[in-house]
């Protein structure tokens, strides 16, 4: 029978099927962090159940960590306690932990791919909804709750009903200044935040085939913002080249064997999807959100919808924005470049390329937060840190930071923030904060202008 990429990976991980019930799905890699793991460790301890496969678990500290002075003790007592518990739990069970300050520390969805922990054809879970990121490698990767974290601890497996399959195809050439973030914000704005529910998405077509791994990760990362459990892109030469040589990637003959297998992970021509959508790349332009969910987005050059809709009105009331208004020219005092969506080297290259030779606007507070220690190292090696410094920016240390504002990186109430993160929910970046999601290019341009500028048109140079 013809199979999709998703079928091929799923079916090779089914341990057993319960008649008229869920399947036991084997999990290859389990990533954990400080916020959603302590209750799972406690659950196993209370029930006297051992951790089944500690060597298949990798831990990092990211959600609740400071992005300055990481060498000093964490000031907040509750945060410090949570980090200590992660350390103790990992020590007690022999789990690899990249704690604060470790050379591999970083946001879980930045760290695992760049170390080669994430590989095509795997199943991978984490107690974090943006685990969908790893689907960029042709893996089945999805976020789970803490009860499921405990289940994977106990059995390296989960009980799941096989999700439905959706394919989103985007063919054609992207316009200049349209980045992967714009592609996914565009798709979500067209389909809505509930459109992917109960589905796994495969992103197909030229646009994704021509994307770098960083770009594919940005796209798959936000599949959850459509309600989908995960997104996937078929592995290809771009994927194999990225994985090759990474610390935990297969080596030598083993790598070649794996690549031969990975090459089979493509949707068969006659395979069927439950739901299909197709978009034309030429319709996609730089995007920005105006509301309080990621589906409330528009092209930078468009105006906020003028619809009679109580949910829109509730959102605009929170955002203090008017129906029918344009966001171009909107004054903004905060810019955040970071998060598991856009904190990889490519994102900082885009930002550095734009700010080079320019100066940060005086009203702007810009937080540039690399996704991992390895990204920091790469930024330094490429000299991007100097470009940022000369333009008036300061780089912070890795972590989730202002994406969810669990640490001190909070946007003050009432302030607008152009953010490269993934969620513009009420209060997401701090109580009363107003988030405008956009690409790293739009964020960088905002930081220079002190207001939102239209990056779809090249800025005219004075002759």
């Amino acid at each position: 029978m013809a199979k999709t990429l998703f079928d091929k990976v799923w079916d090779t991980h089914v341990v057993d099927s319960i008649p008229n019930g869920p399947q036991i799905l084997y999990i290859d890699k389990h990533l954990i962090h400080e916020v959603t793991s302590p209750q799972a460790f406690n659950e196993l301890k209370n029930r006297n159940i051992p951790i089944f496969r500690p060597k298949q678990i990798v831990a990092t500290a990211d959600h609740n960590t400071p992005t300055e002075n990481q060498h000093l003790p964490v000031k907040d007592e509750l945060s410090r306690n949570q980090l200590q518990q992660l350390q103790q739990n990992c020590d007690a069970h022999g789990i690899e932990l990249y704690a604060l300050g470790h050379q591999y520390n970083g946001i879980v969805h930045v760290m695992a791919p760049e170390l080669g922990i994430t590989q095509p054809g795997m199943t991978l879970v984490c107690g974090d909804s943006h685990t969908s990121t790893h689907g960029a490698f042709g893996a089945i990767a999805f976020g789970i709750g803490t009860s499921q974290v405990a289940q994977v601890f106990a059995s390296q497996s989960l009980l799941l009903k096989k999700p439905k399959k959706m394919r989103i195809t985007v063919n054609g050439n992207l316009h200049e200044n349209v980045l992967p973030k714009d592609v996914i914000l565009y798709i979500i704005s067209k389909l809505g935040t509930d459109s992917g529910t109960e589905h796994f998405i495969e992103f197909a077509g030229d646009v994704f085939e021509n994307m770098s791994m960083e770009g594919r990760m940005t796209v798959c990362n936000m599949s959850i913002e459509m309600g989908a459990r995960g997104g996937m892109i078929a592995p290809d030469e771009t994927t194999f080249a990225y994985v090759k040589g990474k610390k935990f990637a297969p080596k030598g003959a083993d790598f070649d064997t794996k690549v031969a297998y990975w090459k089979t992970l493509k949707t068969d021509a006659s395979a069927r999807f439950d739901t299909e959508y197709t978009f034309d790349a030429s319709d996609i332009m730089p995007m920005i959100t105006f509301g309080t969910n990621p589906g409330m987005g528009m092209k930078l050059t468009e105006n906020i919808p003028n619809a009679n809709d109580s949910n829109l009105e509730k959102s605009l009331n929170y955002m203090n924005l008017e129906k029918g208004a344009s966001l171009v020219g909107q004054k903004v005092n905060y810019v955040f470049i970071g998060s598991c969506t856009n904190s990889r080297i490519e994102d900082f290259r885009v930002a550095a390329n734009y700010v080079k030779g320019k100066q940060k606007a005086p009203n702007i507070n810009a937080w540039l937060v690399p996704g991992s220690q390895l990204v920091v190292k790469q930024i330094q090696e490429e000299g991007l840190d100097k470009i940022f410094q000369e333009a008036g920016f300061k780089l912070r240390q890795p972590g989730c930071s202002a994406c969810l504002a669990m640490n001190d990186d909070k946007i003050p109430a009432g302030e607008y923030c152009v953010s490269t993160s993934n969620r513009n929910f009420e209060g997401r970046q701090g109580q009363g904060a107003r988030t405008l999601l956009a690409s790293p290019l739009v964020a960088a341009a905002t930081a220079i202008a002190g207001k939102i500028v239209d990056v779809t048109v090249p800025v005219l140079e004075e002759v």
């Binding site: 290859d28 976020g143 529910t197 669990m406």
Partner: protein, 195 residues
């Protein structure tokens, strides 16, 4: 975990769509390392004003409403996978959430905590919300065995639930029990698995 019984209760109406888990429990309250006490901060930023006093306009602060059922708008529980959202709802005393649509991860988290998500049609939801708002003493009857939600005899709907999950709720089982009993199969699988 205790088993889920058929029961009757009044309900709170919350007719807002796309309620994300950041609203149910904001991230700044996720620093705890146990499951208890999250109910205190359930819907924190909607429930309390900036000075910390209760927001009189928010449904959980209105004395006319009571009960252990929350009736909410389309796409309830979207966003973050934080199970703290299910813990907060349960800790507050909700053991049934009714909506016309649930986000996947939340639905799974709720069931794993024996909080029952009941999905109804948009028109049933509309009528239900109006009925509760017109008369906050309206009693809703939830029958898991029969998979029905009813107000009296004339207003009744059936709902879907995975048969395995239904059995877990009725008998008080959870997935860990099941998986740990299948470790031999999992070990056998590992022997032939590529990774």
């Amino acid at each position: 975990m205790s088993s889920f019984n058929t029961f009757t209760s009044t309900a709170y109406p919350l007719p807002v769509e796309n309620i994300d888990t950041d609203q149910i429990i904001p991230a700044r309250f996720l620093k705890a390392t146990n499951r208890a006490g999250f109910g205190e901060n359930l819907f924190r930023d909607w429930r309390f004003q900036k000075d910390g006093s209760p927001n009189p306009d928010f449904v959980l602060n209105q004395e006319k409403y009571s009960g252990s059922i929350l009736v909410a708008g389309h796409n309830f529980g979207c966003g973050s996978s934080r199970e703290h959202a299910a813990w907060a709802l349960k800790d507050f005393r909700f053991n049934v959430i009714v909506s016309s649509f649930f986000a996947d991860i939340f639905k799974g988290n709720a069931l794993n905590n024996h909080v029952l998500p009941i999905q109804v049609t948009p028109s049933f939801l509309e009528t239900l919300l109006q009925t509760i708002q017109n008369d906050p003493s309206t009693q809703l009857e939830v029958n898991l065995e029969a998979q029905t939600l009813a107000i009296g005899n004339d207003f009744k709907t059936s709902f879907e639930i995975d048969p395995y999950k239904k059995m877990c709720l009725l008998k008080g089982y959870d997935d860990i029990d099941f998986l740990v009993n299948n470790l031999n199969k999992i070990e056998a699988f590992e022997q032939q698995h590529i990774y």
